[in-house]
Symmetry: C2
Subunit: 377 residues, 2 copies
């Protein structure tokens, strides 16, 4: 079977860049204000909320900046806010319908940056649209393909609700489409985690989530054509495993005020427990010994600081081997499924010699472990 | 490239069977009761709601029965109701989180009917889980693959939020996976449209929607193996088109009380306007002339009575050629993406000679037209 390549990784930055300390403080303020609309005897004290955020929130040594599409930081919870109008009638902010509409509008703007529709251009044969933070039909992907300047028969797949690991199943689908009939498949990620905070929930878990996740957008192409101008990632192997007895450790479910996440402390140790045997299977699928594979550069989905630590410790990796994963977490936060493509982009821009293998991991609800091996070429 | 076959179509009936008249009357009662919790000057009169349902609702000549997983018809809006607890504190029924949890529990029960986990058995290499009516991670598909008696490495794809047409893109993905590495791919549909009614919306559009949609579950296998015991559908061609200037005609978006649909009267005429040229392209992809293709049996997604009429009139089909599509609508209603597999099952159970072509159409938000050609063999 012909080799399949991934290349042309592009990213679009969301509208607003915030320093972590500033953003976390603002989120704490939304929580304090939302709390003030609860009955007096059910309110959590403002000082306690601030302490919780300081204690449980992700520190700026680990995430220094995050991008949000939502500009509400500047509007002070007022009627001019898009999402976090924290008022008597909307003490949690706007409902999931308005958040979804915001997602649609903004993701359509992003798609217009990825695809110039002011002129007629070459278009992909298939567009796989990936998200777990905005479910609207028709989607931005359907809207752009229906644009009068699109001028190409492009099929669409929604690869939705697969959480942080979704880039790897999306590439698996793209590979199948390329092997069947499509010459070129584009995968587009739109993630806006910043739309899904519920400020009336005062739990340590939510304070981790709300200081960890961010917005991000990415696009790349999967095809049998090896680019001569750009570096490519040849797909060698993709593997997946759902861990037993772990369904309660992470979840993602719609709520009236956006999607709701749960996340337990058991995720890093459970990943540690499975990673070595999972990786041995993955490497052998890519026809690599463990020893050969351990010389690769590693693109680890930075689910959180402890996830990268867990992978590094279990596999005995050097700081250099995971430098891009840590850097993307530091500079961007966890952008859900859009994160790994940002890490790949960094790795392709760095000076790794052609022939270097890249091992990529991602984790999500299930618990699901995803792994892939690529060759930089 | 080797031919790819679809076979082993199984369906599971949801818990409760209701006659259309009885169910529509009950839904009208939920609306009347929900309305009574609005401020007096904003209430729609009970008689008017009943008249609206009688005027706009789908008649029992067109849909005689529908299945719902939800048993609330028997509990009288009380605290014992699962979804439609229409009370002062929940005048719209329970929120989207509780509806999603109900979906997860019930879909996991259905998956245990599709896959016996009481013993170790042969399992698929890949499971594509299809729905637009319940987004929960971990999903029922992930839960069953993690079951201690599953004993097989099965990959999972969530093909969510593609609406009524989702079976055809799911088969397109399955074909790619089979062409790449998976020996057998199962596609499983769980649809529970009956969980997504908002009884405080009194529009003719919602009365159509709430008397049209139903619950349904289906499963089938896609592989290179032609079954000798069962009839097969050889996949000849799959096509898709998003129509321009039609994004407002149908939509599907999460709301605080479940998913919310919009549906315009323009859908049937817009489909009529595009169907012939779309079909000519589809048939030629399957290496059939229009004349040859018109001798096929047609499996039309029965989006509503007028959709079947529109396809029949445009292509000049006989009543016999669309008999199974009308029968599934009559006996089951529109089960969203699970509907077409029910039509295919009926066609495979009927006595069409081997070699007969089956043309299948489905429609959804975009507006998106999907078509496929199969050969019964």
């Amino acid at each position: 079977m012909d080799p399949i390549y991934l290349n042309s990784v592009y990213t679009v930055k969301p509208k607003n860049l915030y320093r972590q300390a500033e953003l976390s403080q603002w989120i704490a303020q939304i929580h304090q204000r939302a709390e003030s609309f609860k009955p007096k005897d059910q309110q959590t004290d403002s000082d306690l909320i601030e302490k919780f955020f300081l204690r449980y929130g992700v520190k700026d040594a680990q995430i220094s900046e995050r991008y949000f599409e939502c500009s509400d930081v500047f509007t002070g919870f007022s009627d001019h806010s898009d999402i976090y109008k924290i008022t008597t009638s909307t003490p949690n902010g706007v409902d999931i319908t308005e958040r979804s509409r915001f997602f649609l509008n903004r993701s359509y703007e992003v798609l217009q940056k990825f695809y110039d529709v002011s002129t007629v251009q070459i278009r992909p044969d298939h567009l796989i649209h990936v998200t777990c933070t905005g479910y609207v039909s028709p989607s931005a992907a359907q809207k752009i393909v229906a644009h009068q300047n699109w001028h190409h028969s492009t099929d669409i797949t929604h690869a939705y609700h697969m959480g942080c690991y979704a880039s790897l199943p999306a590439i698996r689908l793209a590979r199948g489409l390329v092997n069947t009939e499509n010459l070129s498949v584009d995968v587009v990620h739109n993630e806006m985690c910043g739309l899904h905070m519920n400020p009336q929930l005062q739990t340590p878990e939510q304070m981790v989530v709300q200081t960890l996740f961010a917005d991000g957008h990415a696009k790349y192409t999967v095809s049998k054509t090896k680019s001569k101008d750009l570096k490519n990632l040849k797909i060698l192997a993709i593997s997946e495993k759902v861990l037993p007895d772990s369904e309660m450790d992470m979840s993602w479910i719609p709520g009236p005020y956006g999607m709701q996440m749960s996340l337990s402390r058991n995720v890093p140790p459970k990943i540690k427990g499975e990673l070595m045997s999972f990786s041995t299977d993955l490497f052998s699928k890519a026809e690599l010994t463990n020893e050969q594979a351990m010389k690769s550069v590693f693109a680890i989905h930075p689910g959180g600081p402890k996830i990268i630590d867990a992978v590094q410790e279990t596999l005995g990796l050097s700081a250099n081997q995971i430098a891009e994963s840590r850097r993307v977490l530091l500079q961007r936060g966890n952008m859900s499924s859009a994160t790994l493509p940002h890490v790949w982009q960094e790795i392709l821009l760095a000076n790794y010699p052609l022939g270097t293998k890249m091992v990529s991991y991602a984790f999500g609800p299930g618990l699901t472990l995803f792994g892939a091996v690529f060759e930089i070429c």
